[in-house]
């Protein structure tokens, strides 16, 4: 059985205290769960169901609506590369090709060491510094294939 760490449990209580209705805490709690467990598995849904009192199917139905909540495992560094107009104009695909060349994985796959995965995403709000990608709580902007090589190397050694 999985469960929140003590620290996550404290965070959980804080989250609940921010809302006049418990249900409103569900999305932040799912986010917390993903941080703890990596992705929203059936096991995670079962655990949250017990914790919050909503059916697991209800919890999964919410989770599947939101693209940032993962329905399968992702790499430690999950790269979300913008494919929308301004990034596409400025060269998303050469960067994607470089990622594929470097990591030898396709969309939805994870590198053997579990470190990297990638996906295409919609406008990240970085159109003026396109192309852009989001990796966790970091944005990388003005991407070029050369920059991609540098970023991957840096993250690999982090």
């Amino acid at each position: 059985m999985i469960q929140f760490s003590e620290e996550a449990m404290r965070r959980y209580e804080t989250i609940l205290s921010h809302y006049p209705a418990k249900r409103a805490a569900l999305l932040p709690v799912l986010t917390l769960a993903q941080r703890e467990f990596g992705w929203i598995s059936q096991e995670v849904a079962d655990y949250l169901s017990e914790l919050m009192g909503y059916p697991p199917s209800d919890i999964l139905s919410v989770a599947t609506f939101y693209t940032m909540l993962h329905k399968k495992p992702v790499g430690k560094y999950h790269m979300e590369i913008c494919r929308n107009v301004s990034c596409w104009l400025m060269g998303t695909y050469p960067c994607v090709d470089e990622i594929k060349r470097q990591l030898k994985i396709d969309v939805g796959e994870i590198t053997a060491d579990g470190k990297f995965s990638w996906n295409l995403t919609e406008c990240l709000g970085s159109c003026g510094t396109a192309p852009a990608m989001q990796v966790g709580d970091r944005y990388y902007e003005n991407l070029t294939p050369t920059r991609i090589v540098e970023i991957i190397e840096k993250l690999a050694n982090e």
Partner: protein, 414 residues
Amino acid sequence: MNKILLVNIEKPDQTTIAKYRERGGYKALEKALAMEPAAIIDEVKTSGLRGRGGAGFPTGMKWGFVPRNTGKPTYLLCNADESEPGTFKDRILMERDPHLLIEGMAIACFALGCHLSYIYLRGEYEFIAHTLQRALDEAYEAGILGPSVMGKDFALDLYLHLGQGAYICGEETSLIESLEGYRGYPRIKPPFPATHGFLASPTVVNNVETLCALPWIITNGAAAHAAIGTEKSKGTKLFSVSGHVNKPGVYEVDMGYPLLDFINNEAGGIPNGRMLKAVIPGGSSVPVLTAAECDGVLLDYESLLKAGSMLGSGGMIVLDDSTKMPEVLSVIADFYAHESCGQCTPCREGTGWAAKILRNLIAGKGKRTDIDLLLKIADMMEGKTICPLADADVMPIRSFVTKFRSEFEALSAN
């Protein structure tokens, strides 16, 4: 050119409460707290401020719809979901001047009698959440938020709430559903959020940029704000410009500033000696303008509408003469197909169908009849859905196909 929003954006350490206050921050809130809430609402009405999230609805009037003494709490929700393709204006305000947003929200909350308020921030902006949270913590410590706002008998709690990746959650009723902990399905209106919003209580949803204009309006007065801009579009507006320009970025201009001057001056013109081909002036959901149509157009709600487009979010995408318009439309159509929440059949089926036709056309597998089919799909989607996302797909489809028809025909020659 006037500065209302980006006054301190370049100044060092503006994110700290110390520097924010040193530069006059929280004086507007202090002034507002000494006013009658109804007088603040009147002031906002007179200022002519209109919502900067896309629809341009008069802010003071929206606040006026909120019923008083219902026995239920009133909520203010800040829409920081910023996901309209081409739009990156709210983030600069939150990244560089987070206390401006907090001050604007506190003023709005006092005017509306709201004691609990949220910033709904798109999940991808987690890096901004750190900056905002620090600013919120500082504001609590300084007694600007909490049980007694600046010593006044008025309590206000303000929390950050992160979305998790869904463009549709920027639509206000979807945002409310999402905040309540459900799938972000837009609600049928009426009832409107003003009476039945968050937790079935009176709710106002306002965009970041809208709220950030409030401190200036309170400090300088409604008349000063109404003196800027055009007859019906008041104040300044942030435009985030990207695509084929030398100086992409966020610029604040007076409402009514000429579009082509903006592209040539603020945005630095078109690179590589190329010519302007088209402009999407207000985010991907508004009709594209050809270069010829841009002539004489001003950056305000009325002028852009008259030119056949809309001001939208102010997310401007500039396209030069090397751009293949069917490919741009295909990228846009894929976006709407991906982001349709699937509740309404015309939207779910129409956005997907249009995207597929365009992908086929570009792959050289299209038919001549596909072009009229695209227009027919647009007609079938328009005005038949719960929320305006389907219409937001119709705008680019119809405008791209009719204005650049020969490019689509060339792709389907056989």
